[in-house]
Symmetry: C2
Subunit: 132 residues, 2 copies
């Protein structure tokens, strides 16, 4: 897997952007970051493993909620600083808010001056029940 690990352009913090897209529906689920070690773990285990910039720790997606992401395809972009993973999302929801996608807020104001952010995403689970 060095062919991939060595071809990635990591930023000054040693991170690369990692996009998760639902392999079945094409829905964008989330954008997070990996370092070389969590990328290696992702490739070895087939389960998405990120680096949490806010907590500064490894983060196996679904370790709290059970909603793991199984990797089906891995793509690297032209300049090597972004990865696209097509995944199977267990439980149907990627977001800690219980939404199917982290991108559940939609801006309604295209072409006007007074748009708002509205929650247009699908709510799959109640985070209070999942995280306690």
């Amino acid at each position: 897997m060095d062919a991939l690990l060595e071809e990635v352009t990591y930023d000054d913090d040693g991170l690369v952007a990692a996009i998760a897209q639902d392999a079945a529906t094409g829905d964008l689920l989330m954008l997070a970051y990996m370092n070389k070690d969590t990328l290696r773990q992702t490739l070895e285990t087939g389960k998405m493993t990120y680096w949490s910039r806010s907590r500064q720790e490894e983060w196996r997606k679904g370790q709290s909620s059970g909603n793991t992401q199984t990797v089906k395809e891995v793509h690297l972009d032209c300049d090597g600083d972004a990865l696209l993973f097509k995944v199977n999302q267990k439980g149907g929801a990627a977001c800690h808010t219980g939404h199917r996608s982290c991108f559940y807020r939609e801006y309604t104001g295209l072409g006007s001056q007074d748009g708002e952010l509205e929650d247009t995403g699908e709510q799959v689970f109640d985070p209070a029940e999942v995280y306690g």
Copy 2:
């Protein structure tokens, strides 16, 4: 549009990640970055306008190639540091290499130790003809 501009969490360089997804097919086209000013321009003009980190300048997508991206939807993620734009990609190719998507390199080695990166993306134009 301040509802969106003020809700974004910009990083230490004043940037936010901007994902472009084909509005018709769901294909991931590219990941780049915007600052507050190019995000404002994108919302005002309806044409994707990024901030080039390598050139440190505004970058209206398609200004050289003609392959502009027209915004159809804008979504913000849960922690505010990533935007998803669903776009119409003029000319059918987002990548400066002439590929439909910047994520044209696919890693073939899932589940093994010796994967390679292979070009599996669709080539739409010859960059030598477009950029001269």
